[in-house]
Subunit: 258 residues, 4 copies
């Protein structure tokens, strides 16, 4: 139903909902939810791939023709660690796509702008398709774009907080200025948040926690799918702007006086 | 996709998106948008019906097997006027369903709590199925319920402002307390707003302006349809609560040290 | 520092911060906080006056030349009970000023619009100076004004929630339309909330819980005093409006190029 | 009235309101407003100092025993330009204090995290007392702290927008983590915004536009002074936390039944 599909680097996506593999109750539940979401890009922590064992047969459950894997570097704290992790991921998962995440801070898990830019530059040079997770910092996003990232992934709110679009003033500027796709990542805790990001003009959103930890991940995945489509459609059909004065939908002449 | 359909009085609805007929560019555009919305209940201003002429063949365009008409009393300023208008509407449109709207104030079009309660009581006595539009006032909603209304329609924001759920603290209480369906009306300017109302636990929403005045009403109607479904699903699958501290979706052990 | 003092009925106030007597740790602490607040109008629950005993010598502690008492009808559930309570209060406290509060609902303590209007009309007729606590409902406020209340006291948020100005869209309309002073009551949990209400153009605010339950009520009372003065001054000096684009405070010519 | 004065590097401040010199209608108005604000630290654009002429005798008007000057590098776009500008400022204004501002973007004037960190490191090495203006990015703030800045100055909203604390979720984290004073800069458009920043635990705020462009800058300066004091006091006296359910300030037993 979407007018123009989303293209990032060499791939074209029908779905603008990206998902993740963390925190699901079971691998089967995860697989069912990912399929229900309609997502075509799913992020996978390299760490989890590295430590695969018979209990965590996660990779089998994300191996589907429609699903593209997006390894992430979650757990690294510096550009150097990120570059090393990226190379391991490329080998293990046979893709040069990479979600670059560098968060030195174990409490709030916020990304490091300096290390992220440094790593992005190096990884682009090494042939990776880099999608960096970053603060909703418009200048940083432009600098990441300048070193050749394929998209930027600014956060909506601190990861895992489910607070929604708390960075909206800055996302607006990022979307206004960006020459590469903008994927809102982190903090989207409800379908309405995802719809709001799309209405703002984001090219896609990434949702993981809110789907994985809900009472019914499959149903929640479907809800996010619909909400992302709704938000995108509304963006394309142009929303009316908020107004300060009331305007009746119905005619208001006090006809009974007539 | 909805688990339990919505029942109001003697009617059961599959769609939880109610719509209106005001402000569309043409009657044909209105018809197309209403059908695209999937809506099964559409509000019509009695005034407009009364003054029907060859130019405004609106009624023809809302005559569909799936569409139930909900006449509204927009334009009246007192309980007495409302009761009179309701009787005219019942005769003209052959339905005892009524959206009760009393707004004496021509600037902000906000509903009058006193006249609304008085009219509701009388109209219930006269056999109407009354859905009153009202302020998001929890005590008023309980009083309306006590006189026998079929649902309550508290406002999300001043009508036509497109501001979204500005009364959320009070809607939460209304939804918590109500024994009749709660339909959020007025102010919903974007699909994300409609989704948010449904996530909160509203039984339905009424949207008119945001669809009618968008650049592409048909597409916007579809967007609201999806958003309402998304919000309802999320409510049923129980959203995670916002949290104050971050929680990673991906494992965070600094594995490169190991 | 205020340009025009506030006049309600026959009294003129230098301070625009009204306070209350509930929830303080001790009567002495209450007295100290009330004096520190600079408040000239303090609300007292009739119930508490009625049940005065040697343990709760509260009345002694609010007997100061500067403090005017504003008995309230907290605890009543109907207009009839309110009128009876008002008469008891007038006799016990020797004032015809009255804060009219009618909340039938023991959980959320929200005011009843119907009973409040009915009682206000009767109490005005009986010679009371009536200040009704009400929902932030602009039409209700105009109706209360029409029956002769001395001021309206719309709520900022559900009482005791400390959430701040959650009804701001409606307070703006109330302030725009009102011919009597508007006192924002309930929900103001921080000095910044009180300042915001004053910046909006409220004539005064009433704060009780946030002062009484803080770690240091005297200090918190002073904080609210300053914040109310700050907000009023800003209202008088006219705030700049929020803008969508940035404007530098400092000159931005890239002078190093020159 | 403040319990503990604010110390930054070698200076101690009684006032926690920092101000600026831009956008005032006249130098005399600026002087009057700065004095009314009680501010002890005022930022001055180097560019303006450099181009001083008889029309803009601004420097004379900020030469007061109580006022410390804080030259800023507004207008520079790189770390290299910033270091050069800082050295010029040190010579011209005879102070090694510096507000480091690097914004390459002429439209939104947002600071560059990479250049800012680079310049901060160099300027600390060169003996400057560096107060960098930066995005409300908690990781960046910690990195700036690590290279030895004297305080961090995260933004509340895009400069000149008067939107208030739009970065509150991140300011909370910055304040929680910081070992150096946190001065909220940019976007504070009303005294209530300044109070809210102080209530959150900020050590100081910097306000310029909202004072300079108001109808009455002197009065507005006083309003901000009071609001900052109010917010600080409330922070020290510990605010009650927002609550989800109502709690009456007045006793609620339905005493009339007894």
């Amino acid at each position: 139903m979407d007018r123009q599909p989303l293209t990032i680097a060499d791939k074209t996506f029908t779905s603008r909902l990206f998902t993740g593999t963390g925190k699901f109750g079971s691998a089967q539940l995860m697989e069912d939810a990912l399929l229900a979401s309609g997502s075509e890009l799913v992020t996978v922590a390299l760490k989890r791939v590295e430590t695969q064992n018979s209990q965590d047969d996660m990779l089998i459950h994300v191996t589907h023709p429609r699903l593209n894997l997006l390894p992430n570097t979650s757990g690294v704290r510096t550009a150097k660690e990120a570059v090393f992790a990226a190379q391991m991921a490329r080998e293990a998962l046979e893709t040069n796509w990479l979600k670059l995440e560098i968060h030195p801070d174990p409490k709030y898990l916020l990304p490091d702008p300096i290390e992220t830019l440094k790593a992005a530059e190096e990884l682009v040079r090494l042939g990776f398709v880099v999608l960096p997770y970053c603060h909703a910092d418009p200048v940083l996003c432009k600098r990441l774009e300048a070193v050749g990232v394929a998209a930027v992934m600014p956060l909506g709110a601190p990861i895992g907080t489910n607070k929604g679009l708390r960075t909206i003033d800055f996302l607006e500027i990022i979307i206004d200025q960006s020459q590469v796709p903008v994927v809102v990542d982190a903090g989207l805790g409800a379908p309405s948040h995802a719809a709001a990001a799309m209405e703002l003009g984001a090219d896609a959103v990434l949702v993981n926690t809110a789907i994985a930890v809900s009472d019914e991940p499959v149903r929640m995945a479907m809800a996010f799918k619909l909400a992302v489509e709704a938000g995108r459609m509304a963006f394309e059909a142009r929303l009316a702007r908020p107004s300060l004065t009331a305007h009746a939908s119905s005619p208001l002449t006090a006809f009974l006086d007539e």
